[in-house]
Subunit: 154 residues, 2 copies
Amino acid sequence: MTHYYEDLAVGDVFETSGYTIQKDEIVDFAEQFDPQPFHVDEEAAKDSMFGELVASGLHTLCLSVRLFVTEIVQGEADVANMGGLGMDNLEWHEPVRPDDTLTLRVEVLEKTPSESREDRGYVEFRRSVTVDETEVMSITSVNIVRREDAADEE
Amino acid sequence: MTHYYEDLAVGDVFETSGYTIQKDEIVDFAEQFDPQPFHVDEEAAKDSMFGELVASGLHTLCLSVRLFVTEIVQGEADVANMGGLGMDNLEWHEPVRPDDTLTLRVEVLEKTPSESREDRGYVEFRRSVTVDETEVMSITSVNIVRREDAADEE
C-alpha cells in the first residue's frame, strides 16, 4: 500500500534490515568522494584521531539514503516521495568501521501541508543509523510527499 | 602553508575550480545510493516534478565534499582538518542537470576552541555550490581543526 502524505502520522516508525560495510568499499568510496588519510590508508589512519581506518561520514550518510530509498520509499512503506527539500542536524556520533552492520530507523517528526501546491505536503523525518544498537549517525530530512487526493485526480 | 586552527579567520573565503557532472555518472551514483526514477531513468524523470533527469542531491553533496577535500583541505589552503563533527542547514535550491559545472565556495563562519582538548578547535564553514553563479546547494559544517601549538609539540 502506498503511503501518501495523508497516510503518514507523526510518530510512525519504519525500520530497515541491516547492511554490512566492507573495508574495500570504505576505501573505494573515500577515494572517490572523501580521500582523507584516515578513510583510504590503514597505516596513516593509525596516526589519526580515530586510530584506525574508519568510513567517511559521507559514506554512512549515503548508505542510510540507500536504505531509506530501497527499503522505505520503495519498500514495504512505499512512500509517495516526490523529492527532498533539505536535511538538518547531521551528526556523526561514533566512527563506523569495516564489518559494522548498519540499520536505519526512520520516525515521522512533523507534517506540514504545502501552502502553494495542493498536490503535496512536507514530511520531516528523523533518520537514525545504529550499529549493535549504538547510534552512529543521525539526521533530519524534509521530504516532499504527494497527497492521495491529488494522485486520484491524475 | 598549512592552515591550522589559529590561521583561519571568520570571513575567510576559499573557492575551488569547476567540476562538470556527466549524465552517466548521475545515473551510476543514483543506482548505488539513491535509485529513484527521476535520478536513474530519463523517461520516468519526464513525469516527475523535475520534468527531466536530475542529479541526486546526495550526489551534489558528495561532489562538494570531494572539492572541499581535494582543493581546500588538501589543496592550496591545506587545512589541518582532523575530521567532521556534523553538518547542518543542507538545502537544495535548484536541480543539478547533466553537463552542469559545479563550483564550491567555502566561508569561515565561526571558530570555537575545544574546552576539553587543547590540540584542536571547531571551525564552522558555510559551503555553497553554484552553477553559472546560481546557488544550487548550501550547507554548513563543523570541522575539527588541529591547533598549530599542539602540532609543534609532537
